[in-house]
Amino acid sequence: MTTTNGATAIDLKSVKVFYNDKLAVDDVNIPIYHNKITAFIGPSGCGKSTVLRSINRMNDLIPGARVEGQVLYHNKNLYGDNVDPVEVRRRIGMVFQKPNPFPKSIYDNVAYGPRLLGIRDRRTLDEIVERSIKGAYLWDEVKDDLKKSGLALSGGQQQRLCIARTIAVEPDVILMDEPASALDPIATQAIEELMRELVKQYTIVIVTHNMQQAQRVSDYTAFFSIRKAEETGGQERRWGVLGEYAPTDQLFSNPKAEETERYIRGEFG
């Protein structure tokens, strides 16, 4: 698929996230380009996962979470009054940090999303399941035993199953929240290679703790950092901000902010 240069799939405009009225992330502006991998990096507590989860309204599930600003998708604000989170998640899928296959068969895991869309025909489902598992490079390992529980697979296979499950509904955007952090190096490599394949068809946003991973797989990188302020009473308030956003090679080879440079040199994390 060819990329329209400069076309964004998602536009984060002045996004602020609050938990119970406490500011968690302040004023984030990031364009997410079509058929590119955008990586969110930064130290723990900088709000990169929080921002990722605001893109498909997963933050709605956390009591007390509130998002201000705009997350634009096809010129519609995902936080508009009449936006249904269920519909949003049909088009913006998610892969989680810890592989979380359902305690169901491999087949039923992958067919879960299509079935929610109302697809019942057995042959159609068979095709979707096969295509999706092949798309996640898992087919050769599981094709003889699709009835086996998804939990019987190894960690790396489980994560690829979760990716297969996500691409089964062909989302426009796939959000990945540290998808390889629970995996060994070989499984991690498989996931990274898979991401490079998937990006030909999908737009991907990945949160990662691993700077080498961001460097290896992503096209654009957003570096988040932490701001602190003393409150009256001596308590410290912390919130995340977008430190720097640039094409990945530029951000890593020639960071503009000193903080970014210190972070990618590994001076804090």
């Binding site: 498909n56 997963m58 599930l61 009591p63 269920v86 519909e87 998640r89 049909r90 899928g93 998610m94 989680f96 810890k98 979380n100 296959p101 359902f102 305690p103 169901k104 879960y112 999303g113 929610l116 869309l117 529980s149 939990l151 979760c162 499950r165 996500t166 509904v169």
Partner: protein, 332 residues
Amino acid sequence: MQSELQIGRKSEVIAKALVNDADGSPRIEKRARLFDDFIRYVLLFCGIVSIFTTLGIVVVLGRESLLLFSTLDAQGQPVVTLGEFFFSTSWQPAGLKFGILPLLESTLMTSFVAMLVALPLGLGAAIYLSEYASPRVRGSLKPILEILAGIPTVVYGYFAVTFMTPLLQGVFGRDTVQFYNTASAGLVMGIMILPTIASMSEDALSAVPRNLREASYGLSATKFETISKVILPAALSGIVAAAIVGISRAVGETMIVALAAGAGPNWTMPPNFFVAAETITGHIARISGGDLSYNSVDYDSLFALGFALFIFTLGLNLLSRYITNRFREAYQ
């Protein structure tokens, strides 16, 4: 006081607490730990006591019930055969008729009515508490449920007689509904079991990991789709366990049926829920409360009933194990 730690040297307090041999080398040889051994045997004893009391009860039940089947009448024939015990529809100890069916029927009827009330309401309450209620609501409702589960059953028995029966009579008419009846006892028994089922099911539902819910929502499931397709199947084993505990309690419950279901076995076919009928437990309670002579046939027959009840609940437990192993979606 010296507080500075030197590398390779232990501080004074630690050095004092460790034991060295005479030559100063560290003592690491095995030594007797009497208290640990003692605890181990005490715990073993506790386990053995509970196992052997259970076994003892089963043996006594079995032996005494065998006596019933080996008793001969004036003609030298057995008073009751196993076949008659299980398949004849008359229980009249005075007439030497020992057919369990009328008692078993009312036990099944009261339990059925109870589960009809307790299972849907209990499961519904559990789903509400675990999936819909705010933490504050759940925090206050869950303890209330557990308190309800602790109300003495005799209170429920009174409730059946003084409230439920008049209510049923008001709705269906005094001509249809006798004062003592299995419907009233069953309904109130259902209310009694409800908190147990709700509480146990809620535990099972809440134990389903959050990441499974997230996976489902992330794939664009609605709340109800997530509950019905992911959470309930994953919690099934716990829910079935709750249901079986409920059924076992219903089958074994005595006070409510003794007070509200009626005295005297009554075989009705088709089952009539509005007439008085005695359950197995109700019968045992009534008869053993009277002046029953030791070693009489009536006496032995109670043990046979108890044994049958035991086999019945044992079967339920085995069934629940089978069901949970067969259908559950284990998430770990």
